[in-house]
């Protein structure tokens, strides 16, 4: 198994079906304030914009797979939204490798992220990345 602290993740390290890591994300006021600094205020008090779940998904993905080689490309994305989340919730993210394949000379990897709030799934996402090494 790769020692992520010592060596960069490369294409050959990924195994479809294997979990890559878990990460917890708190939908706290600091996170909401950072969101508002970019996208503006939400219409509803206490409402968690669904895009914040997408940002949480990305954080979990990046935390699970590091260090990473430079030059990776986030090429495509699917999202399926589930139960709503609310301010103050603590989400648990599970990251996995779903698939990998060579397309001509490029190394493509599909990563899955599932965000849960207790027993409820709030978001599933599939990140299609062109891995640079």
């Amino acid at each position: 198994m790769t020692d992520a602290a010592a060596r960069v993740w490369v294409f050959d390290d990924f195994r479809p079906g294997e979990p890559l890591g878990r990460h917890a994300i708190a939908l706290d006021e600091a996170r909401l304030a950072t969101w508002r600094a970019i996208y503006g205020a939400s219409a509803e008090e206490g409402h968690v914009p669904s895009g914040m779940l997408v940002a949480a998904m990305m954080e979990a993905y990046l935390m699970a797979i590091r260090p990473r080689p430079p030059g990776n490309v986030h090429a495509a994305q699917t999202l399926a939204f589930g139960a709503p989340a609310k301010a103050g919730d603590r989400l648990d993210a599970e990251v996995s490798c779903l698939w990998k394949e060579m397309r001509r000379t490029r190394c493509w990897v599909g990563f899955g992220v599932v965000l849960r709030d207790g027993g409820r799934c709030v978001l599933t996402g599939e990140i299609s990345a062109i891995w640079s090494r």
């Binding site: 950072t34 600094a37 970019i38 996208y39 940002a55 990046l62 986030h74 999202l79 899955g112």
Partner: protein, 142 residues
């Protein structure tokens, strides 16, 4: 027009815009813990094929999600999205997100993020009311 679930489906999504300047991109890096210098460091970006910093792809994608929420007053049940990031967007660009109803029967919108010149940076589809099967069920799902 209505979805199979009875929700009204407008022909167009409410368009949402923002200027993705260095401040916004730096905040997005904090939000996602994505401090890749390609987004934040002009000197680093100058040595890449992009030549200058580019925004995070999901910074733009989230603008489409905002457009959906503003259109429906929140996210409807069973929303799924499928997009490609087709063109990098330089930091400092004004971007606009929206969508057009493609199929009432399927509840599908063509969605996009475009720059001020009309170039598409993100494009794909959003389906409302009938979530398609996704292969991602988590590594430990049976």
């Amino acid at each position: 027009m209505e979805t199979p679930n009875g929700a009204a489906l407008p022909r167009e999504l409410v368009a949402v815009s923002l200027v993705a300047g260095p401040h916004e991109v730096a905040r997005y890096a904090e939000l996602t813990a994505d401090f890749n210098p390609i987004h934040l460091d002009p000197a680093f970006a100058a040595g890449t094929t992009f030549g200058r910093p580019i925004i995070h792809g999901t910074l733009g994608l989230n603008l489409v999600i905002e457009a959906i929420e503003r259109t429906f007053g929140g996210l409807p049940d069973d929303v799924s999205v499928e997009v490609r990031f087709v063109k990098p967007v330089p930091v400092g660009s004004a971007i606009r997100a929206g969508g057009y109803l493609r199929s009432l029967e399927a509840g599908t919108y063509e969605i996009y993020v475009e720059t001020a010149s009309g170039e598409r940076a993100v494009e794909g589809t959003c389906t409302i009311g009938r979530a398609p099967e996704h292969r991602n069920k988590g590594a430990n799902a049976t």
